[in-house]
């Protein structure tokens, strides 16, 4: 049985890729995700992992290389951070449209200008409409676990989609925490080998990525949308299997912390959920019925699961960690989708949002106390005063 070790999120992502026995890796350096590639290159150099390690000339090339690798039938792995994620933007839609289930491991970083090393989710959140599976981990352990879960879901023949496995830069990527790695028999039981559909072949030649006519575009889009209708069930199955085999306890879509009797709740994804959880405990010790819903997948968005988890709460505070300048609520994007998810309930919670953890800032316990105060005031007044507030501004 594998034992607990201390490791960073970057090392955990590399360990996940190694456990998945990835066959092609394409790197290009950018902080903070680079450490994933440093770990993997060591593993390849030491002969612990038998993979083709390609150094791309940029992030666009990285995603293109894994596209080609996937097309030829290899399990492929790449990753990036910040502007690296956005530089590869052109290739995301072809990856998803061509149904190449490669994985991209993201350690979030604020977008330019100017260069800010801190974590912020805007980089990967900007790709959410490109047809990838997308979700955030909140610990190095979850990074390792999500790496395996995402491959299993993405490579399922009902899905065949690329995945972005995200972790907050520095908070998760560079702070060591306890991680239990699976042993090879567990990984083998959980993750079958990648079986490509119509791979490039010298004996059965195929065409990939052809030009299509405009009248073929709509069915192509519809078939991709249809796939997303099938994904939730695959995620549920994969999570249940993962929990059983590895002895974990993940909710497939939404971690629900002390929500059953909650009056106010925080809605959050990623690293700051850890401070949020302890803040919920502190608030509860002061008599405030607080709870937390933590999103594990942004795509597919768990509409009904969120309505179920949060429908009974009186007020929800969305903690954004990413920007949507000029958007409907003038803050981030999570509030738009959460409000839409709750809209059809007969009685729905009041929903406001807080811009926090931007540019790599910490969201402190006192910030959660402040947010709780705003939410309690909304409950009392039966209305929210603003759609969004910038913490500390």
């Amino acid at each position: 049985m594998a034992k607990e070790q201390m490791m960073t999120g970057c090392r955990a992502a590399a360990e996940g890729a190694k456990a998945a026995e990835v066959e092609v890796i394409c790197s290009y350096p950018i902080r903070p995700y680079t450490a994933i590639m440093m770990e993997l290159s060591k593993m390849v150099a030491n002969g612990e992992l038998n993979a083709e390690f390609v150094h791309g000339e940029g992030e666009h090339a990285q995603v293109s290389v894994v596209l080609g690798a996937c097309a030829s039938g290899a399990r492929a792995f790449t990753g990036s951070s910040g502007v690296g994620v956005t530089y590869a933007m052109e290739v995301y839609s072809p990856m998803a449209g061509g149904r190449y289930p490669a994985q991209m491991s993201i350690a979030d970083r604020t977008l330019d200008p100017p260069g800010d090393f801190g974590s912020e989710h805007t980089d990967a959140m900007s790709t959410r409409d490109q047809g990838w599976l997308l979700g955030w981990a909140c610990s190095p352990q979850e990074v390792y676990d999500n790496t395996l879960i995402a491959y299993r879901v993405g490579e399922d023949h009902r899905v065949m989609l690329p995945q972005m496995v995200c972790q907050d830069g520095y908070f998760i990527s560079h702070i060591p925490d306890k991680v239990t790695l699976g042993d090879q028999s567990q990984v083998k039981e959980f993750l079958p080998p990648y079986r490509p559909i119509g791979p490039l072949s010298t004996t059965h030649p195929v065409s990939h990525g052809p030009q299509i006519r405009p009248d073929q575009g709509a069915p192509m889009d519809a078939m991709r949308a249809q796939t997303f209708l099938a994904v939730p069930k695959v995620i549920e199955e994969a999570t249940a299997d993962f929990n059983r085999i590895f002895g974990r306890n993940y909710d497939p879509f939404v971690e629900q912390y002390k929500l059953e009797d909650a009056e106010i709740a925080f809605f959050i994804q990623g690293a700051h959920a850890n401070t949020c959880r302890s803040s919920v405990d502190r608030l509860r010790s002061q008599g405030v019925k607080a709870g937390m819903a933590r999103l594990r997948w942004v795509r597919p968005w768990p509409t009904h699961q969120l309505a179920n988890a949060l429908g009974h709460v009186k007020a929800v505070g969305v903690i954004e960690t990413s920007t949507s300048y000029g958007g409907a609520m003038r803050g981030g994007n999570l509030i738009h989708e959460l409000r839409a998810s709750l809209y059809d309930l007969d009685e729905r919670p009041l929903v406001t949002s807080f811009m926090g953890g931007l540019g790599g800032e910490t969201i402190w316990p006192k910030d959660f106390d402040y947010m709780a105060k705003v939410l309690l005031q909304a409950v009392k007044e039966k209305k929210i005063r603003t759609y969004v507030q910038w913490l500390g501004m």
């Binding site: 449209g97 061509g98 149904r99 190449y100 065949m160 559909i197 119509g198 059965h204 030649p205 195929v206 065409s207 990939h208 990525g209 052809p210 030009q211 299509i212 006519r213 405009p214 009248d215 073929q216 709509a218 069915p219 192509m220 519809a222 078939m223 949308a225 249809q226 209708l229 509409t303 009904h304 309505a307 179920n308 429908g311 009974h312 059809d344 309930l345 007969d346």
Partner: protein, 117 residues
């Protein structure tokens, strides 16, 4: 939660509009009939055979492989379903055998866009 929420609905792509999964198709020996690319062409090359010396410059310069030399007939053959009308062959033809004809000008009245041929 008491109330039944709306679902995501279903999507049924009509059989005759289905596109191959991931747009992956068996590689064609010559042309890929599942995905044709000619319906945004505005002009097409028209050949005056008497001027054509079979030099194959058009064959080499076409980015979409739309010129073929038919050995038996000793003739340059134009592949209509994939010519995008870029007119490179017309520019490159050393004998002036190729000219650009507006697409709607077909003698049999094929109308562009309404139905890709």
């Amino acid at each position: 939660m008491a109330k039944e929420l709306p679902g995501y609905g279903t999507i049924n792509v009509p059989k005759d509009r289905e596109v191959p999964f991931g747009a992956v198709t068996p590689a064609p020996v010559c042309t890929q009939d599942l995905f044709q690319t000619s319906n945004w062409r505005m002009k097409r090359p028209v050949k005056e055979d008497e001027k054509c010396t079979r030099c194959l410059v058009c064959y080499m310069s076409c980015p979409d492989a739309c010129w073929e030399y038919k050995e038996a007939e000793d003739e340059m053959y134009w592949i209509a379903n994939f010519c995008k009308g870029c007119q490179i062959c017309i520019q490159e033809c050393p004998t002036g055998a190729l000219t650009a004809a507006p697409e709607l000008d077909f003698p049999d009245g094929v109308v562009r866009l309404e139905k890709p041929f």
